[in-house]
Symmetry: D3
Subunit: 332 residues, 6 copies
């Protein structure tokens, strides 16, 4: 059915490979298990993955060293795509663990935020650096120093929303922009420095709550994450840093309160309910950004003028509608 | 205890009057009831009110025409403040219903929004007039034409928040500003014209839901308001106007959905839960603006560095904290 | 295993066909997909259905015109039943879309109410025609004129109860009978005309809420149905018709209230809770009729003296018991 | 102010007495307390009550024997109505405990059902006597024999609904009428004998749950009523009676189930949720009759065309509306 | 692959059998179905089970008498373990229903409590026999006499906890030990005799609520169990026994209350909420013992230092953590 | 009415003073306000209080220095009890703030635990000192060193339970005794050292959560207490102390988890739900001890054989029953 194709595609997205094509490059090894042919020859069953999808494969006459224990690691492979019993699969001729010189771009293998991580981090850092209140500024910058790498790399969650590289950073940066304008709109009750500090710190405990794979995706929750939760972990560490920085007790307490209350309601796992205006606004901005992101993700699979095929738990557990009508572009 | 004061204060705030002072001017007659002295002479027991508070009073040797049926109306009085059995009260010497020539300023007698109503209405009208989408614009302007006077005059609620003159207008205008910036931040999922139209229309049904006093405050809910609610009333009328305007069915349906879903959750009385991004964002902006306003109101009676004395039902049913710490002003 | 049978059964219930039998007639085409044999010949995989069940089948050497796009339509087929790998299937020799001259009886293909639709509609129409109150009567008859065909044809729901042809009509007619007697029993608080009008109108919005297949079953909810719901849609249209008919405002409002409140409790999606006696009674009659119908349906698969095999969501999410004991017939 | 009136009104409703009138007769003594005048003379402060309301009073120069311990008992008094400090009160000249020869009609002193108790009991008894099923009939008649007096006398509840003499009987009789017609409408799932037996027995445990005053009103719950509840008490006793009567085990179990499940939902205190059709229908009829009665009671204080002044807990905790519109009488 | 093994293992745990081994003994026949080979010969497909697991098997050239109807019964088999298409299975050469002389030990075939049933029963009986209060003691001993065999044999539940032989006895005995010490700690409010009687009686209704298999495991709930529940059934029978024993009414009522309230909260199916100290403590001890047992069971599959792989519904519906840290043994 | 009594009672319980008696001693000054007689003479209105109750009083011809600002402090007074307009009050002749030499026993003025504080503290300290696990022991002893005074002095709560001096200590000591025995009963899943450490630490955050009066009663919550709560404050500090002590990370995390989860369910304000056996048991022991103490307190005002007059919020929001039946004393 598929004709032979002599060219070798390098680092091609798996979903774009068609039977007959040859390919090579680095991919994520999702799983691997040794087996034996009827004729007694060892071979390897495996699954390759990149951001575009997954592909099952076989490597004949192979007894190692790569095996089941390498699941989750990156491998370099070369082979050919074929169809067997209606299933598209790869027939490999070479396989080895990736090496430093392979220079793998993680965002080719796992999903990443749709914005440039460097620019987002820059925005966050600049905003914090210009906070009017020296105390809140000091705590934020100290926390950023402690966690810059992880903060700008990890996803924002496991499945619900922002579950891609730099997801936490994107979530934080977007909320910071919203906080910036709303703090001016409600300046009679909102202390802008406190609100923006709260936005930056609210999910910082996720750095300790998650365990990530080699490629930066969340593999599971840490024991600490499960037994204490990111609200507690974040508020606890911020308390420590605030005390080290010697800021006034009330400010330290307010920062901790914003973190501890940002899930809003007991049934959402908040430690306390919001008791100051900045905490209340922060909890609402968190909800807005999470839900807008869930819509963005749902739109990827929902044509205009239709409802999503699945109910979305975080969006009132219903299907969502993507309007067909497009307003004309703004004439401003 | 109080010495005699010969000057007559005109239209003074009731809370500022002290025993011994003479006063005159227009006030709200909260209640009135006829009585008879031990000597068989008729007199009137009454309560005056203005925005600053209330004052009980008596008018001796008076048998009408003003009486209990005039409660809630505006009267012109003149009299003197005295103390009787530890209670400060007014001893009146004249009383009549207010007349047109008295030129009463309602905002002296009942609370009003802390912003200029004209400017807010102007902002709303200009924003609607520039909506990129001609269909949504047409419906909004038609609804504004129908209800301009009431929309810009009535309170936003009976007790919870924005319960003062122009409250609905202030609530709408503030949300519109927030919607303006957030629609740009989330432009990949939000149709700005639809969102802003939804903000303008979301509470328009309150015009039919409330009954107001002569002075524009809410006295009670209308029968229609109680039996159908402002979500239904607003969505129903907008459907009618949209059909008259001949806009596409999907747009009509979306406008109705935004109104019908803006209370967000069934336990908050929503007709349906939000099913499109604009509806979701609208429900959240409504919550933010209501709660920020509740904070603003609570701050009036909560000194910095303390908790409010009462639990506030709409704010997680807890006391709220007003921080003492003030961040330095922004250096931008 | 199965012996040959020369007779051809016409329009036989699919569940009654056994291997070896020949058959022909009109059936519902549930699905169809083209395929190719090992030898490169095209054929069609399909599923036939009628009210009794489904039957997979194959039509060899066939490349159209009937194909996947015809799923949900009625086809005329002829063929033979056989067993292949333990599965009973049809081997067809002819297939075409049904034509008018085939005179298909929908109730052979999809489930229908266990009562005669004509008689039920007649009862409803007569009852409405005799309503003592001319205003309520006028609105009901106008609504019946608008929707007679759909009202008497569509199911009452998608899965929970009355999910068969004429289901809405049966649900309405049964409730009307109950309302008739209970309105007399509680005549000191119930206005019979209002209650019966409410019964007729309460689910009329379902006409707009559902999308139906060629055979009249519900395929999905309309966009309007999902974004606004049948309570809103019904109450909105009744408001429009009532205004056209010029009935008093209070009566229009009461009719709308009965529709808007008939789901009783916020967690059941009611727009408002019942606030008048007729609304309260209507909500309860709706619950009774739905649940009695769920019992009737459950009894079809539950032998006397046993519990249903499955929990039934709408019946307190439990299994139900069908008593073995039968009281002697009444001697009256 | 009030002129003297020489006639003595006997057994007049307290609410109809006006200052200046003389009266005598038997009344309920709500409370009594001895006191002493400034001149050292003993007198009695007391409150009289009948079904129409209450009246404070004084009996001068009285030191007993009637006193505080007689609160709740019936007394014969004679006296005169006067006004003192704007309060209407009775000045008595005679007071003694009521005697048998006074032949007090309890329904003059405490509220009673608006139907004739004898006729209601007769209807219930006749209906039970004609039950088609001999087993259910036997149990019902045995229970009626055990509790005829209390069953037909006690109120149906303490405050919520049917809180008047014969209230339980009225509640039962009304439900029985509704059950009679609905059991025919749903005869494919409902065993009429079982349903009607369940109606009769469902609240029979209230006989043991309440403690009543001399006049038959509920004074408090019995210890057994509080620790086990009338659902348990009723189902337990019916089990005992059914076993004595030797009816089949399944029927005994079904009767107990109907009683044990008639509160419908766990949050309403049901022992189990309804699991058979008769139990489901019974729970709904109980709700209908309770709520219709709450409406009937609310109408006594709600003019047509207005809302009740108070929220009514049992009616969705809202105010209720009594329509002004009256449909023309039925022309049948 | 597996070499031949001539020895025959008797009554070996199924999980320990390896391909090549011969075995014989009594096992549970989980299921059986007749089939025919391609060559037309009848054979039996079956599944054997014991406490260690299950094993599929085949008995060639067999047409009965053992067949599908014997599923759930105990059979004696002999055969050989082999591997076919990667599945380990038994190839039997003999099969018959177990006979009395086979002297099967049920605990070899189904799970049993990890404590000696005789000792536990002895402890319970001794404790009851020494109860200080003669009335409570009499009722408990009478109930024990009625149900000794079933009480000490049946599981404590179907799946949640104590779902093994003697589970109810173990649950009761453990709670009795806890009740013993806590009744002394809280002796100012707790009557020890009442509490311990309540512990013994609280789940006694399970004897009537469950139906058990030949081997004593729970197969399903009885009709009575589903329609009335073990709280009702237990409290009803205890009431009967208490009345027969002639103990004071208050004590009878308290025993019934402890049983009727031991599920604590309406959403957990309690008949009434605890209203005396012993009932409150009993409900808490029941919860403690259930949950500690769920932990004990979860530990069997959770290595130290890890979380359970599954969420556990009864343990806050979360995964549980088994600490790695082991405190040194107590030096007392 | 009351005769003169020449003796002066010293430090008498206020509730025992009768009109005519003279008294002197130290009391709590609940409130004080200056006033002026008709004749223009200054005097002081005040309320005295001790553990037995309150007594209003007057001090004539007094203009200070004691005044309103001294409310909540202890004063020495001397005076005489009299009756004025049916109210018993004190007529003082002397008043001054208490001095050190007055040697006031706080437990005379405010309620205290019914056990000896020294013995309870001794028991707690000894138990912690003997903990088998050196790590948990170290953290507990360090925490005890930090907070010994406050821990053994403050109440356990503001109103619900243990709201008296040494209440927290009593609550902790009782739970420790229960934990001691239950940890042995469930030794297969419970690490006794961890459980007992958790019991000691679970409410330690209350030391920071409350603000206390001069006499040690809780006057209000601290800002930190309201914004973060005692679960957070305790877990945070224990984390700090555990890190200082250098115990293994897992043990530190487990201690924090036990504190953070001890309220059990989200609606009770827990930070996380219990995820290990010790946390689960701790949450249950906390509930048991709180509720047994609520019963102990309720018994003080509930005669045997009756129900409490009030519903008790923390005891299922119902009235509670105190049995009349007393089991004979145990014969062991």
């Amino acid at each position: 059915m598929a004709q032979e194709n002599k060219a070798v595609r390098e680092c091609a997205a798996l979903r774009t490979l068609v039977p007959g094509e040859r390919f090579c490059g680095c991919y994520l090894l999702k799983s691997a298990s040794g087996a034996t042919t009827g004729a007694g020859k060892p071979y390897l069953n495996l699954r390759l993955a990149d951001r575009s999808g997954e592909l099952p494969g076989k490597l004949w006459d192979y007894a190692g060293p790569v095996g089941p224990a390498d699941a989750g690691r990156i491998v370099w492979v070369s082979g050919r795509v074929e169809t067997y019993q209606n299933v598209t699969q790869a027939s490999l001729d070479a396989l080895r663990l990736a090496e430093e010189t392979d220079e793998v771009d993680p965002s080719r293998l796992v999903p990443a935020a749709p914005y440039d991580a460097g620019q987002m981090l820059d925005y966050v850092e600049r905003t914090l650096g210009k906070l009017a209140d020296a105390d809140y500024r000091a705590v934020c910058l100290a926390m950023l120093d402690r966690h810059r790498a992880a903060f700008s790399a990890i996803p924002g969650g496991k499945t619900m929303h922002h579950s891609f590289l730099h997801g936490l950073l994107m979530h934080t940066a977007k909320m910071m922009q919203a906080a910036d304008t709303l703090s001016r709109l409600y300046s009679d009750v909102i202390d802008r420095s406190l609100l923006i500090a709260g936005v930056f710190l609210h999910d910082i405990g996720k750095v300790a709550e998650y365990r990530t794979t080699e490629l930066g995706m969340i593999s599971e929750y840490s024991a600490e994450g499960q037994l204490l939760g990111h609200l507690f972990l974040g508020a606890e560490e911020v308390g420590e840093v605030a005390r080290e920085a010697g800021i006034p007790e009330e400010k330290r307490m307010l920062l901790q309160h914003l973190i501890a209350s940002h899930h809003g309601r007991p049934e959402f796992g908040t430690i306390v309910t919001p008791r100051c205006a900045e905490a209340e606004l922060l909890a609402n901005l968190d909800m807005i950004d999470s839900r807008m992101e869930m819509y963005r993700k749902a739109f990827e699979e929902t044509p205009a003028g239709t409802f999503s095929r699945q109910k979305i738990y975080g969006l009132n557990n219903g299907t969502i509608y993507r309007p067909a009508a497009q307003s004309e572009s703004e004439a401003e």
